[in-house]
């Protein structure tokens, strides 16, 4: 592969590069030359480039069907344009408010109950001084993060099924009356949040523990000398150390406020709790894939991603205001 010719070529490449460095922009217009010189790089980048074009950018172009009455046998070119009809249909549909309510309530529950959980656990873990115990607990609580949602849903099902689920029997024994948590609409949201906590709360501590690792221990020693107790040290040293992290994560969470995990909701939905379970993503799937209303469901999806992108950019701006470099 490495014959004399390439050798010679690469040597000129090196000098050309040196030229470029000392006299920038000299041959900027001569891009054909550059492509020729780095031809292998273009060969290498081609599969990835095509991947992004086909699987990321082609679908973006496909969004135009949200403004059409798309018929698969006609294709995008031949289908009729209907303007904003799909959107007005969606906004005037009672489903819209149901979806909006379900999404927002779930997101709010998530913010109130799920969000603080990793912070509390990280604070507690930080107070543990037996390294072995701390490491063991960390190892255990990270496990569910790597397990698939189907497994999590299956475990939930096996525990809560009225056909001999051990938790089902336990609840019946404690409360005196059997409650079918899996299918009663009232318990759907708590169930989702508890699942989420069990799966992700341990994993969520990592970022806070990383921030806490950077705290100077001298601060603790000084406060001990000054007579500060356990809780005071937590309040005045530990918590301020992770305050920025908390604020940033909170802002980022607001950025994807509408993102309720599709798989989890989809797997936990059944005919009895559908009314409170449906969120934008599951609705797009049901209407689009199973019922074949491609244009309408694309419009719903587009609505969601546009609101999402506004939230992300807005919250990113907010993050920058708080002195965080932001993500974009």
């Amino acid at each position: 592969m490495m014959n004399g010719k390439t050798d010679w070529n690469t040597n000129t490449t090196a000098t050309a590069q040196a030229d470029m460095a000392t006299r920038p922009m000299r041959r900027e217009s001569n891009w054909k030359r550059q492509i020729k010189r780095n031809k292998w790089l273009y060969v290498l980048v081609l599969p990835g480039f095509l991947y992004f074009v086909i699987f990321k950018y082609l679908p973006m172009w496909g969004i135009v069907i949200a403004f059409q009455d798309y018929q698969p046998f006609l294709g995008i070119r031949e289908s009729n344009w209907v303007g904003l009809e799909n959107f007005t249909n969606f906004f005037s549909n009672p489903d819209f408010f149901r979806l909006l309510r379900n999404t927002l309530v779930l997101a709010l529950y998530d913010l109130i109950f799920f969000f603080p959980a990793p912070i509390i656990i990280a604070l507690l873990l930080n107070e543990i001084r037996v390294a072995f115990f701390k490491r063991t607990i960390q190892t255990l609580v990270y496990v569910p993060h790597f397990v698939s949602m189907v497994i999590i849903a299956s475990i939930t099902y096996v525990f809560l099924t009225p056909q001999g689920g051990v938790l089902y029997d336990l609840i019946a024994w404690i409360t005196g009356k059997p409650i079918d948590v899996l299918s009663s609409p009232g318990s759907f949201r708590p169930l989702i949040i508890v699942q989420m906590m069990w799966k992700e709360m341990g994993w969520g501590t990592i970022i806070f523990l990383a921030a806490l690792a950077g705290v100077d221990t001298e601060q603790y020693e000084a406060s001990i000398v000054d007579g500060a107790g356990r809780l005071r040290r937590m309040w005045h040293i530990t918590l301020p150390a992770i305050r920025t992290t908390i604020v940033i994560l909170l802002i980022l969470r607001l950025g994807n406020f509408l993102d309720t995990g599709f798989e989890q909701i989809y797997l936990m939905t059944n005919s009895l709790n559908r009314d409170v379970a449906d969120v934008f993503d599951t609705y797009v799937y049901t209407v689009g894939i199973t019922q074949g209303a491609f244009s309408y469901s694309t419009a719903v999806g587009l609505f969601k991603s546009v609101v999402g992108i506004i939230l992300v950019l807005g919250s990113n701006k907010l993050a920058k205001k708080f002195g965080h470099p932001g993500i974009y």
């Binding site: 599969p47 990835g48 190892t139 255990l140 698939s148 189907v150 096996v158 356990r230 809780l231």
Partner: protein, 295 residues
């Protein structure tokens, strides 16, 4: 730190509370797994009697025998293994070949492509347009539909690209002077030096493939091609347990209790993750750090 000063009475109470709380948390996290593993080995009698909690008195492998002799479940395990191995190779091929050119400052078009990658993290076509593209390409009901649409994770690509950029430029220059082409530099210098990073990403991609349910739900309707995660949902959540091929079975075979079958399938779906978990754990703290480096 001076531990003597820690030992105030209130501090001790807090310590006890703290150890107990975290201990309970740790137990609550693993208990469901242990319960499921234990029950998957139980016999019908013990399950109905509920004479044990974690470890059954009589161990029975009938649920596993059933799973591995039921061609539908066995096939779905095979599909999952195949997708995990082949899909990870596809991921690595696409990610590494794209990351290297993007890491080179003399690569014309690099900024445009980087912006293209970053924009795709911010906005996407969404479920339906993507589905229509896959359908248009004729990939429905093909294993490619489980491997190609997620061939590159933009986030991983950026992390790998940043890693390549951090390599000392002297190495590449030396190789070039010795007559290496761009391909040679990538194959002989950059990739061998990135083995640990590649292993980490391979592991994370593989876990993603094993756990993937969404793509199969969307793109695979032929039940012969279902991966384990979809089969798991059929069996456990939709209770179509005996995904029926009793005809192929030994007539003397006693069907194990439905509960045990469900538990055993859950175990089979979880075990690979638990097996690679120690390796994951070694890497993910580092991964979280790497991720904080901006693209």
């Amino acid at each position: 730190m001076n531990s003597r000063l820690y030992n105030s009475p209130a501090g001790k109470v807090f310590d006890i509370f703290n150890y107990v709380m975290l201990g309970i948390l740790g137990i609550l996290t693993v208990l469901p797994f242990l319960y499921i593993i234990g029950n998957s080995f139980a016999t019908e009698a013990e399950i109905t009697e509920r004479s044990f909690f974690l470890i059954p008195k009589v161990f029975s492998f009938s649920a596993y025998e059933y799973i591995f002799s039921s061609s539908t479940i066995f096939r779905s395990i095979g599909v999952s293994i195949f997708i995990t191995v082949a899909g990870t190779l596809v991921n690595l091929f696409f990610t590494l070949t794209m990351a290297y050119p993007l890491s080179r400052s003399d690569f014309w078009g690099r900024n445009v492509m980087m912006n293209m990658v970053i924009f795709s993290m911010l906005f996407g076509g969404g479920m339906i347009p993507t589905y229509l593209v896959i359908r248009g390409l004729g990939l429905l009901d093909s294993y490619w539909a489980l491997m190609l649409p997620g061939a590159i994770s933009a986030f991983n690509l950026i992390v790998v690209k940043n890693f390549f950029q951090q390599m000392p430029p002297g190495l590449e220059e030396a190789a070039r002077i010795d007559g290496c082409s761009d391909l040679g530099v990538l194959w002989r210098i950059v990739l061998p030096l990135s083995k640990p990073v590649i292993a980490t990403f391979a592991l994370f991609y593989a876990v993603g493939h094993w756990n993937n349910f969404f793509s199969a739900l969307l793109y695979i309707s032929d039940s012969d091609k279902w991966p384990l995660q979809v089969m798991l949902r059929q069996i456990v959540l939709l209770s179509q347990a005996s995904v029926g091929d009793m005809a192929n079975m030994d007539p003397n075979f006693v069907q194990p209790p439905e509960q045990s079958i469900k538990m055993a399938v859950i175990v089979v779906g979880t075990i690979p993750i638990l097996l690679v978990y120690p390796f994951l754990q070694k890497h993910f703290a580092k991964g979280v750090m790497l991720g904080s480096i901006k693209g």
